[in-house]
């Protein structure tokens, strides 16, 4: 596990940090190119992650596509197999369903089923997350599906700093990478150094140190957990927040070590509870730190519904600061 390097130079939004990572890597390696819907000069990407890149690098390397998710990913896979380093953008994570064969049966399996002859160094970027009242087809968090598919690596950055360092690493990696972003995190700011840096996959970040309860969280739930932690701290309860940053590879050691210290684990996640990422984390801790657990592992998650539209409904199903505070209190009572 690594702590962030405190060489703060400036504050960037998560979107700006991703944009910088893309720009730097496109400058560094001419094999890197972008492919996706509305990522080019007319729209700059639905969330502006590719802003200005088509103007800087040309539309051969920043390619607006037809609305053909399966072919966007398939073409990226084919280009990756033959010497390029494509980055495909799928505008919303929900639309990954349209490209599922190319991701799960092709990208994930080509290296293995062809006996290691071919590599697929592709990055597939896509945002998850609720909170914008855009309902059931634009709000899901589906990272567990990909964590469940051998042959893929999975990144889940929560901050601008992590997003930039992880994306640069992803682009240089020889395996297919599912690089998930978060729509609410897009506008959050954090300190990002001026110079180049890479964040290795498989190294969790302790977003807060504490002795009483371990919180495992990703994406926006890291931010919600940090807010909850401040409240709890005023009452003398110190939580430790572990942000895995990548789900594959997973820094199991960081999670297990923290639980061994605190004896209590709260998992906060925005994806559905059943067979979500948290279920796997709970199982790992049960297997590897059972003797250290002082109270039953607790999960706060989306309650196995589609994401509803109306803010009242949406707020009800997405874990928030209050739910996290209560979760910690319940754990300490147990």
């Amino acid at each position: 596990m690594s702590r962030r390097v405190e060489t703060v130079m400036r504050k960037l939004t998560y979107v700006e940090a991703l944009n910088e990572a893309l720009r730097e890597e496109m400058k560094r390696d001419e094999r890197v190119f972008l492919i996706g819907e509305d990522i080019g000069p007319f729209w700059d990407g639905a969330f502006k992650v590719t802003k200005g890149l088509a103007r800087e690098f040309g539309t051969e390397r920043v390619r607006d596509t037809p609305i053909s998710e399966s072919c966007i990913v398939g073409a990226a896979v084919g280009a990756a197999m033959t010497g390029m380093r494509p980055i495909a953008e799928i505008m919303f994570g929900d639309l990954l369903t349209l490209a599922m064969d190319q991701i799960a049966n092709q990208a994930a399996k080509i290296h293995y089923m062809f006996g290691g002859q071919l590599k697929v160094p592709v990055v597939i970027r896509s945002p998850f997350g609720a909170g914008n009242s855009i309902a059931a087809h634009h709000s899901q968090s589906l990272e567990a599906w990909f964590m469940h598919t051998p042959g893929l690596k999975v990144a889940v950055p929560s901050t601008a700093y992590d997003a930039k360092g992880l994306l640069k690493t992803a682009i240089r990696d020889d395996d297919p990478i599912m690089f998930f972003e978060h729509k609410i995190c897009y506008t959050t700011k954090s300190s990002v150094p001026d110079g180049e840096y890479l964040i290795p996959f498989g190294e969790a970040d302790m977003k807060r140190e504490g002795d009483d309860v371990t919180i495992f969280a990703t994406f926006w739930m890291v931010h919600q957990s940090l807010k909850a932690a401040e409240k709890l701290s005023r009452r003398g309860i110190e939580v430790e927040i572990i942000d895995p940053r990548t789900l594959v590879p997973l820094d199991k050691n960081a999670i297990v070590e923290s639980v061994r210290k605190t004896g209590r684990l709260l998992i906060v996640e925005e994806d559905c509870k059943t067979c979500g990422v948290g279920a796997e984390i709970a199982a790992i801790v049960a297997e590897e730190a059972f003797d250290f657990i002082e109270s039953p592992i607790k999960r706060i998650a989306e309650p196995d519904t589609p994401i509803p539209f109306s803010p009242v409904l949406e707020n009800f199903v997405i874990p928030d600061e209050k739910a996290i505070v209560k979760g910690v209190e319940d754990l300490l009572k147990a």
């Binding site: 399966s70 072919c71 073409a75 084919g78 092709q106 042959g151």
Partner: protein, 330 residues
């Protein structure tokens, strides 16, 4: 007398003889695989290409070692036509460590990266977008390489076909789409699931040329592919070639193919691409009968050798199942 095929005028003798040998390599190889399967030496199932050889051979005769192909679950023919080593192919089909994929792929997943065979995918239609990506890569890397993408009539009704042909056309990518219309997708007749007679007619809807060709006439396939490859190589964009053909055996090794009318099977047996081409070569004085038979003998020997090689090869160690999931695990 076999049904006549196109004249060979203007095609070099070396090319013609090479195509004849490749046709036989695929035929004899698959007959051997069929035989080994019957002796319980081939795990899983088989989708044999017997009867369709002229399609792969006629197309691949226009490709260089730097060009790419994508293949299907019925892929042995594509693999051999693109230049695969018979020993390593046979070993893969028998699940041996010495196979192209170290026993991880089998009959439905042979790849041969060294000669540009990007591999056989067994989800129908799934390799069409991958071929588009390889062609995009050829273009972005400023090479003059081309991609031949093989798929069946069944795949032409998958969404990937539409997405891929549109994208290839709009970007004028160097890819030749080769639809092997063998009339059946498993047991489903193409005419029961497609309202037009020729899949190649769809090409017009994407803005690319569409060509229908007798897929059992290797010379006709060769000539159509030559035009399409030249067009792709020179920046003219993609072509859809529909090869009308037929596999002599059923869909897979377990399929007696009782849904096919006997007179239809008989008619297609008469259209067998190998005797037709052999008769043409002899008729035009390109090969003597004895020379043609000598080639066959040499091919049979090479195929027998591949079977010996495969059968003498070790199986992988069981723990190798854990290798190659990722290039680098952390």
């Amino acid at each position: 007398m076999p049904v006549d095929i196109s004249d060979t005028e203007g095609i070099e003798k070396e090319t013609l003889v090479c195509m004849y040998r490749k046709l036989l390599e695929i035929r004899r190889f698959e007959e051997k695989v069929w035989d080994l399967f019957g002796r319980n030496l081939v795990p899983g199932t088989l989708h044999l290409y017997i009867g369709e050889e002229a399609t792969a051979v006629g197309v691949c005769a226009n490709l260089t070692v730097d060009d790419y192909i994508t293949s299907t679950h019925r892929g042995h023919g594509h693999c051999i036509a693109k230049g695969a080593n018979l020993n390593k192919t046979m070993a893969e089909i028998l699940g041996r460590k010495t196979g192209y994929c170290k026993g991880k792929g089998g009959s439905m997943h042979v790849a041969d990266a060294a000669v540009g065979n990007l591999g056989a995918t067994a989800v129908v239609g799934s390799a069409i977008p991958i071929a588009v990506g390889a062609a995009l890569s050829c273009k972005l890397r400023k090479t003059d390489r081309v991609v031949a993408c093989f798929f069946g009539d069944g795949a032409s009704n998958n969404g990937t076909f539409h997405e891929a042909l549109n994208m290839a056309a709009v970007w004028r990518l160097p890819v030749v789409f080769v639809c092997e219309n063998n009339i059946y997708a498993m047991g489903t007749r193409i005419s029961n699931v497609t309202a037009i007679d020729n899949i190649a007619d769809r090409a017009a809807g994407y803005g690319m040329p569409g060509v229908v060709v007798d897929g059992n006439d290797v010379v006709a396939v060769y000539r159509s592919a030559k035009t399409a490859v030249k067009r792709a190589r020179s920046g003219g964009g993609p072509t859809l070639i529909e090869c009308k053909t037929y596999h002599h055996k059923g869909h897979s090794r377990f399929d007696p193919a009782k849904y096919r009318p006997p007179e239809e099977v008989e008619e297609w047996m008469r259209m067998d691409p190998i005797p037709r081409f052999k008769a043409k070569l002899i008729q035009e004085g390109i090969l003597k009968k004895e020379e043609a038979e000598e080639i066959d003998r040499m091919v049979v020997e090479a195929v027998e050798e591949s079977a010996r090689f495969a059968l003498e090869s070790p199986f992988p160690e069981a723990e190798e199942a854990l290798e190659d999931v990722l290039v680098k695990a952390s």
